[in-house]
Symmetry: C2
Subunit: 244 residues, 2 copies
């Protein structure tokens, strides 16, 4: 057993500049579907964003993720075919003809143009059948892999790399296409590369599909739907200010 005090972080506090950098990453991160440049990603940069993913929180420290890097144009093409099929089905699912028309104009993936595709998976059997913290919610391992996705996404933004999450696939077809074993779930299919530019706002906001919700409407106090607590006026006033 180590002396616990030697296990404390020496640099507990962040400077104002460091804090600002973290918020800059969070606010300028975008879901990138186009604007990819073919430039290769240097090995050291790619290793850094994968390390960032690997240092995500995981339930019971099980680290259930794998990282499947796809550079083969042949495999990308097969995955793109699966996307095309699912996307055609998706386009039919909207009730209003106007929505169906808008849907068809949206670019929702950059599978073929991005130099790197990355699948982040979850191995449901990574740490045996009983996992600390997963005993009462079997989805916690998949949530850990999602945390890895978000860590990678933010690290990539700081490196100037665009990342787009493609989710319009038949999951079983995708598993078959990637030869994943039965206990391995493909959590996120990501398209990654340097980009010409990042957009200021989410593309679905710019396209008028949905607007950003006012944060103060989403925050409740002690009870569901209680958002007008008398002693929370200070917080509510801060919540209604623009974030950046």
């Amino acid at each position: 057993m180590e002396n616990p005090e030697t296990n404390h972080q020496p640099d507990h506090q962040f400077s104002e500049a460091e804090r600002q950098a973290v918020y800059k990453t969070i606010y300028t991160r975008r879901d990138v579907r186009g604007q990819f440049k073919p430039d290769p990603i240097p090995d050291d940069v790619l290793a850094r964003i994968l390390q960032a993913a690997h240092h995500a929180p995981s339930v019971g420290f099980m680290q259930p993720w794998n990282f499947l890097l796809i550079r083969s144009q042949e495999i990308k093409q097969k995955v793109h075919d699966l996307f095309k099929q699912a996307n055609q089905e998706a386009g039919q699912m909207f009730k209003q003809e106007e929505q169906r028309q808008t849907y068809r104009t949206l670019k929702l993936e950059g599978i073929l143009e991005s130099p790197l595709n990355l699948v982040i998976t979850c191995d449901r059997e990574r740490a045996g059948p009983t996992v600390i913290g997963r005993t009462h919610d079997m989805a916690m391992d998949v949530y850990s892999s999602v945390c890895a996705v978000q860590n990678l996404w933010l690290a990539a933004r700081a490196e100037g790399l665009g990342v787009g999450w493609v989710s319009i696939f038949d999951r079983l077809e995708l598993k078959k296409c990637l030869n994943l074993p039965s206990q391995v779930t493909p959590v996120a299919y990501l398209c990654i590369g340097y980009v010409d530019h990042f957009f200021k706002e989410p593309e679905l906001k710019t396209a008028g599909w949905l607007d950003r919700l006012p944060l103060q409407d989403l925050v409740f106090f002690d009870q569901w739907e209680n958002n007008h607590a008398e002693n929370e006026k200070g917080l509510i006033s801060h919540l209604s200010q623009a974030a950046y």
Copy 2:
């Protein structure tokens, strides 16, 4: 329609110092179960970490999250009772007596000591039945709420706030206790507060429960389980170096 060029981010690139700050946050973030101080969290700080969560990626820009802030000692106590019951059940689930003994010594939550408990939820009906990107994977909305958790967790670390994710509950009992409507899933129950210190390493690693896996064993190239590609030697060499 805006002129698309005015929708480009002006500050595309990050400085080396900004990148370092992002990695510092990712590597020094811990799952905090103790060491909480009773000091209140100032409203501006709390608003900033909630804004960070609200700017997470969400499928079809549906922003399915709510943020239920719990400061009431009475509600915390009820939630703690639910944890205690589930945790007792959990302790029986491990096969080996040695694991069961170690499990009982682990502190897995800070519900009562942390000044703020926060539930991040997912409203499965936030944007109607058909959501862009959720058509073929109905879990994508819950994954969006997990991304909000991770954004908040990192922002909190940069603010010097500890966050711990408690997942050992009967989910239906927790929903009942918090009066959540049927379409709202409690994704994460978080304990938040300033801390005496952050640990250098995950507590389950220090306790000898599990070790951190070597990243290079988790990375595959084009095919599942192919981790020795001839043309990837440069990357593999970077992956096997310590992250920080």
